[in-house]
């Protein structure tokens, strides 16, 4: 079960946006997220909006899905005037359960709707066991520039607890194949799985680094309500991940990444150079615009956030009837907008210019520096022209607490 959708205002049937969404459009980049709500198996910890049945009926079936998604792209094109798409990210689910021609058609749909920027970044998530040298080459040929593999761990018992089915020994191979095809590569890791020792985690990080990738994401495992893993924890079969243990592993990973030349640019993301960072990911934290295509997908354009109906069947039905699949939306203003800016901005290594903080929050910065949560020299503007709020490593691990204290 994926998390419930937020509560919001009703969204209009034609998906039209208020004029305010188009103000200052030139200051923001534009990206497209394409959701693929299918997997061959569902992992016990996963609470993403994904389904393992191939036949959900009608336009929600796997082989009809690309056409359904194209209908939403067409609707989006009616709402948003042409503006160059800078990034596309295909996520899931497991995007690679769709055929390359299907993925390729969806991508072409996006290009036809708005046009691509010259340096466009096009990423797809992929399962290490669902790619071949040929399929990766086909993706590159279709216009993909980047692939993010769900490696999660290099340790068999950890993968077993996560119910991941891939063979960890394939990782060096798939990375090589992708690079041979000309794709930039990222590896996704998960830490804090029940039963994972610090040494297990070290093994995973080192294995990832040994492939020589330029980008790694490392996420703390969260046991979400409604997942199979939550049931196992409730029954006492698995132990709830421990925050202190996760903090230790975060610090270890950060050390190992740094010494391998990968630097943090977002709380959970490390990259070799600013150019190898995931620009699509950055856009989320910078408050840029993106349109999320697919059931349960979230979008943001100029302070308006909306989200689609969750089930592929309901999603397809609405599009079949020519209606926007949006389930609800909100226009973020006032205090909420300030809070968002804070919570998104502090996650980045570039931080937030201090002068965007409300006066009350600025007064709290000194205390956060004293507590070792905020980088003092960045706040004084020593490293850059503008004084910025940048978190220390301890601050990154306590980012939510920092935001709460700044938001008062």
């Amino acid at each position: 079960m994926s998390p419930a959708l937020p509560e919001g205002d009703a969204a209009p049937d034609d998906g039209r946006l208020p004029p305010s969404a188009f103000e200052g459009v030139s200051d923001r980049t534009f990206g497209v997220y394409l959701h693929v709500p299918f997997c061959t198996v569902r992992c016990g910890y996963c609470d993403f909006n994904t389904y393992t049945a191939t036949e959900l009926g009608g336009g929600a079936s796997q082989n009809a899905y690309a056409d359904t998604a194209l209908k939403e792209i067409a609707l989006a094109a009616q709402v948003l005037p042409p503006r160059a798409v800078q990034t596309v990210f295909v996520g899931g689910g497991t995007p690679t359960v769709l055929s390359v021609p299907d993925l390729s058609r969806m991508l072409a749909g996006v290009r036809d709707a708005w046009g691509f920027a010259d340096d466009i970044e096009v990423t797809t998530e992929a399962n290490p066991d669902s790619v071949t040298p040929q399929s990766l080459q086909a993706l590159a040929d279709a216009g993909f520039t980047r692939v993010s593999f769900g490696m999660q761990s290099a340790v068999p018992h950890v993968l077993a607890t996560l119910e991941r089915t891939h063979d960890p020994r394939r990782i060096p191979d798939v990375v090589r194949w992708a690079r041979d095809a000309g794709l930039a590569v990222s590896l996704d890791l998960i830490y804090g799985t029940p039963g994972e020792s610090v040494d297990d985690w070290r093994t995973s990080v080192e294995t990832a680094l040994d492939t020589g990738v330029d980008h790694v994401s490392a996420y703390a495992l969260v046991v979400e309500a409604g997942t199979r893993m939550a049931v196992q924890v409730r029954r006492g079969e698995l132990e709830l991940p421990d925050g202190d243990d996760q903090a230790t592993k975060y610090e270890l990973a950060d050390d190992l990444f740094e010494s391998a030349g990968l630097h943090w640019y977002e709380v959970s993301n490390w990259s070799r150079t600013p150019q190898t960072a995931c620009r699509h990911n950055l856009a989320y934290w910078r408050g840029d615009d993106w349109w999320g295509i697919g059931p349960g997908a979230h979008s943001h354009v100029g302070g308006v956030r909306w989200w689609n109906v969750k089930h592929p069947r309901a999603y397809a039905d609405r599009l079949d009837r020519g209606l926007s699949p949006a389930a609800g939306r909100e226009t973020v203003t006032g205090e909420s907008a300030v809070l968002e800016r804070l919570m998104l901005g502090v996650r980045l290594s570039t931080g937030l210019p201090l002068d965007v903080l409300p006066a009350g929050a600025r007064r709290g910065v000194a205390g956060l520096i004293a507590d070792g949560l905020v980088d003092g020299s960045a706040a004084l503007g020593r490293d850059a022209a503008v004084p910025r709020l940048v978190l220390t490593r301890r601050g990154r691990l306590l980012a939510d607490a920092v935001v709460r204290s700044l938001a008062g």
Binding site: P6, V222, G243, G292, A297, H298, D371
Partner: protein, 626 residues
């Protein structure tokens, strides 16, 4: 003739015109659940005062809380006609409160009577409080009529307990009446015996009026209703009366008897029991124990036995929601109208904000007041751990009275005196060891021990009152599987080696947690409190030391380690809204916390830390992972 007198006989017992020899004033002394109210109900029915249809269970207990708890807080007096042979008598039943906190009120109720029904559950035997009240009644020279109640119960052992009662008050076990308030068995005989054995009141009808106030109740519509027993002379409507303790003069707007609703009469004569209404709005203007006399022909001397109610236990009451402070103030002002023993003054706590330091007669009084505040005024309250009053003599011989641990002087101290009580514990003899052990740990000194029967024993202790007010009664109950009963009375002060233990969070004293304890127990208190708080306070962004200290000396320490991780790993599919709403919710949660220095302490932590439960049991449900 029928026990309910006919018209001719009734004409002789009109209020204001009843010869004293036809009056019988009595009360019922009983333990909380020994069936006093049920028996009283049955008497009201048999004397025709209340018909069966109008009968509401436990008619005399008016307040909800009383009915739910099955206890009587406020006494009342009901006049019942009863015929024996050709004669009609007027019986005044004066209901007495049954709990240790109200000893003074009990003593005044007893002083209004000539006889007492000693009512004991035939399945349980006498309890400590009943025994204490029995001794009070004997001190007042009352005629005691022993009665075993609930003889309809299969577990009743009337022979055994009749034996026990006979031992206590003398006489033959056969004289002990056996009744069932529930079925009515034996109640007619009891009423007859009251007429037979309780002496009629005596007094000087021609002397200046003197009436003793044995209760006073605030009524929203009528103001204060004062219950009196006339000793000498008579009181009449429309005359001016004087309260002898304050010399305050009031006009008697109404005078009457309760039967069982108020009935105005032409007056009240010698020996009669009834009520007065003067229009005053505060029970403090009509104090229990005071003497009422006639303004134009005042008595020279008041009746004896009056004393001002003195609070013995203090506790801070704070609204959980700080904006409720004015509501709490108004609520206390209202309760005070009906509770002469309640006193309070505003108090500020660094930890808890604005509240009141409230003085109570005892723990039950505290509990009742708190419950009424929460129930009748819809307040959520935190009450600090109850404490007694200490007299601290400083080096310069000046004396400081401490009703709040935070007022305990910090400098050089000459001596500290604490209030002591004489405690009486009745229990099955198998628990003697457990009780002695408990009293030992509570600094008790055994004064004596008597067997009431082969299986039941009375233990007499002198104990510091401070040890009683915290959790003594709960511990006594649990160590004796609920069989022991306790009564205590104040017996003056005693010097003791007492210290104030402060609790510090990150070096800041949290006033709400300070306690005055015996030197030998300071360490245990410090260890207990710091451990409890460690479990209750969530981890913060920094390490939080929790210390217990006597003055500048640290006696116990725990550390709440800094939280290391408080960040959401990612936003699911760009669901920024969900994450923002989560943060907004957390921000709201933070507002409901009290900040001590820089430490955010949830309200629940205060409540749990101030309750007497052992550490761990309070926050057990979502105990933090170590």
């Amino acid at each position: 003739m029928s026990p309910i007198p006919g018209a001719a006989a009734s004409s002789r017992i009109h209020p204001a015109a009843t010869p004293p020899e036809l009056l019988r004033n009595f009360c019922i002394i009983a333990h909380i659940d020994h069936g006093k109210s049920t028996l009283a109900d049955r008497m009201l029915q048999l004397t025709g005062v209340v018909d069966a249809r109008a009968m509401r269970a436990q008619y005399l207990d008016r307040m909800d809380i009383e009915r739910e708890r099955g206890i009587t807080i406020k006494s009342q007096a009901v006049r019942m006609p009863w015929g024996v042979g050709e004669d009609a008598f007027a019986l005044n039943m004066i209901d007495t409160p049954g709990h240790v906190d109200f000893t003074y009120e009990v003593s005044r109720s007893l002083a209004a009577c000539e006889g007492a029904v000693l009512l004991v559950d035939a399945a349980q035997g006498i309890e400590a409080q009943t025994l204490a009240n029995l001794y009070l009644a004997l001190d007042n020279d009352l005629t005691i009529i022993p009665v075993l109640n609930k003889i309809d119960l299969p577990a009743a052992q009337p022979e055994k307990y009749a034996e026990e009662l006979a031992k206590l008050i003398g006489g033959d076990p056969e004289d002990c009446l056996r009744v069932s308030g529930k079925t009515g068995a034996g109640v007619t005989e009891l009423l007859d015996r009251i007429v037979e054995l309780v002496p009629p009141p005596t007094g000087d009808a021609d002397a200046p009026a003197r009436a003793m106030i044995f209760d006073s109740v605030y009524d929203t519509y009528r103001g204060v209703v004062t219950y009196v027993r006339v000793v000498d002379g008579n009181l009449n409507p429309r005359e001016k009366i004087v309260m002898m303790s304050t010399r305050a003069t009031h006009e008697l707007l109404e005078i009457g008897v309760i039967s069982p609703e108020p009935v105005p009469t032409k007056g009240l004569g010698v020996g009669e029991v009834g009520y007065l209404i003067t229009g005053v709005k505060d029970v403090r203007q009509s104090k229990v124990g005071d003497t009422v006399t006639n303004s134009s022909k005042p008595a020279a001397e008041a009746l004896g036995g009056y004393s001002d109610p003195k609070p013995m236990v203090f506790s801070g009451l704070y609204p959980i929601d700080g904006t409720d402070y004015p509501v709490l103030r108004d609520a206390l002002d209202k309760l005070k109208l009906n509770d002469a023993a309640l006193n309070y003054e505003p108090e500020t706590s660094v930890a808890l904000g604005f509240g009141f330091r409230v003085g109570f007669l005892g723990l039950l009084h505290l509990e009742i007041v708190r419950e009424r505040l929460e129930r009748e005024f819809d307040l959520d309250l935190i009450s600090t751990a109850p404490n007694v009053v200490y007299e601290v003599t400083l080096e310069d011989k000046s004396i400081v009275t401490v009703t709040n641990p935070s007022e305990f002087p910090s400098g050089k101290i000459g001596a500290v005196n604490e209030p002591m009580v004489k405690g009486t514990i009745l229990a099955p003899s198998e628990f003697i060891g457990a009780i002695m052990e408990l009293c030992q740990t509570k600094r008790g000194e055994l004064q004596g021990m008597d067997y009431l029967s082969e299986e039941r024993v009375e233990l007499r202790y002198v104990l510091p009152m401070a040890e009683i007010v915290f959790d003594f009664f709960d511990q006594l109950k649990s160590k004796t599987r609920g069989y022991a009963s306790l009564d205590y009375e104040r017996i003056g002060d005693q010097e003791a080696d007492l210290v104030k233990v402060d609790i510090l969070l990150q070096g800041e004293t949290v006033d709400a947690f300070s306690a005055i304890v015996h030197k030998d127990k300071a360490y245990a208190y410090g260890v207990m409190m710091t451990a409890k708080l460690k479990d209750l306070i969530p981890r913060q962004q920094f390490e939080v030391p929790i210390q217990a200290a006597i003055g500048a000396r640290i006696i116990a320490r725990e550390t709440i380690r800094a939280i290391r991780k408080d960040v959401l790993a990612k936003c699911y599919g760009g669901d920024i809204t969900r994450k923002r709403k989560l943060l907004e919710k957390q921000k709201e949660g933070k507002k409901r916390m009290k900040t001590i220095g820089r430490v955010d302490v949830p309200q629940e932590a205060f409540i749990a830390a101030l309750s007497s439960e052992p550490a761990g049991s309070a926050g057990g449900k979502d105990a933090k992972k170590k």
